[in-house]
């Protein structure tokens, strides 16, 4: 069952990513992007990362897509029927290059001797210093905020600072004066 879900989600994911980069009109690209985000959320679910999946939907599929659509509206080119998502002159070189990069990574993860064991199974969560939480969300909450167990609370605080800077920066840059 998981196999089937995986293949379906994966194929739709790759297909919609291809549509994003090749659609004639950019609004179609934006819609394709929405599908990409949604399918990525599905992949996360397959990987038992429920919290990440929900966050992906919330933020990416929700906020970022809307943001992009708004930006598209605000930067509209006059004639909506023409090609609003043109390719640059060196698209063939880009194709070659990205194919090479992808091939390199694929090679590293499959054929290279240093790649991981292909039959790697999965083990359940190991126990940290704290008692094992019942589900993923609580565990992530513990990992992000816990003052006593092993946690990533400092990067969390820094991330909030990053968001603050981004808010202020976006407002300042986007001002009309």
């Amino acid at each position: 069952m998981a196999t089937l879900v995986f293949w379906v989600v994966a194929i739709i994911l790759v297909g919609s990513a291809l549509w994003v980069v090749s659609a004639r009109r950019i609004v179609h690209s934006a819609l394709g992007l929405f599908v990409v985000f949604a399918m990525a959320s599905g992949i996360f679910l397959l990987l038992n990362a429920e919290f990440i999946a929900i966050v992906q939907i919330l933020i990416y599929a929700g906020a970022v897509t809307i943001l992009i659509l708004f930006a598209l509206m605000l930067t509209r080119v006059s004639n909506p029927n023409q090609d609003t998502n043109p390719n640059s002159k060196g698209w063939l070189a880009a194709l070659v290059m990205s194919a090479l990069v992808a091939a390199g990574v694929v090679f590293a993860s499959t054929f290279a001797r240093s790649s991981t064991s292909l039959l790697g199974g999965r083990t359940p969560y190991g126990a940290g210093a704290c008692p094992l939480p019942p589900n993923n969300v609580i565990y992530i909450g513990q990992l992000l905020y816990s003052p006593t167990c092993y946690s990533y609370v400092l990067p969390f605080e820094i991330a909030s600072l990053v968001l603050l800077v981004a808010i202020v920066g976006a407002i300042v840059i986007g001002r009309e004066d």
Partner: protein, 110 residues
């Protein structure tokens, strides 16, 4: 058949392919927002790869402490912030130049 059942390698290959597609989008497009979309695809590919590493037992802390997933959370956070700032810049440029074609924005050339 090992090729059917998803293993770590499948997810890694998926991530690599998505990364390549996103890279092509970032390099080959003229519309600035299309480039941004390509970058978002690349970030998602990386997220997938990281969470896959966290799921499969490759490195012990990754599995016991869900490092990959935490990393992915932070990537999502930063990507959202970056998208906001980038779009603000694009809108600002559009106001000045009435274009979002990156081929036209080359004042820093020689």
């Amino acid at each position: 058949m090992d090729l059917i059942h998803p293993t770590l390698t499948h997810f890694l290959v998926l991530g690599a392919v998505l990364f390549g597609i996103g890279l092509y989008g970032a390099l080959a497009k003229r519309n600035a927002i299309a480039i941004l979309m390509g970058i978002e695809i690349m970030l998602n590919a990386v997220n997938i790869t990281l969470v896959a590493f966290s799921f499969y037992n490759t490195v012990k802390p990754y599995s016991t402490f869900l490092t990959g997933q935490i990393f992915a959370i932070f990537i999502i956070t930063v990507a959202a912030a970056e998208a906001a700032v980038a779009l603000a810049m694009i809108i600002s440029i559009y106001r000045k130049r009435s274009t979002v074609d990156v081929g036209e924005i080359n004042l820093m050339k020689w």
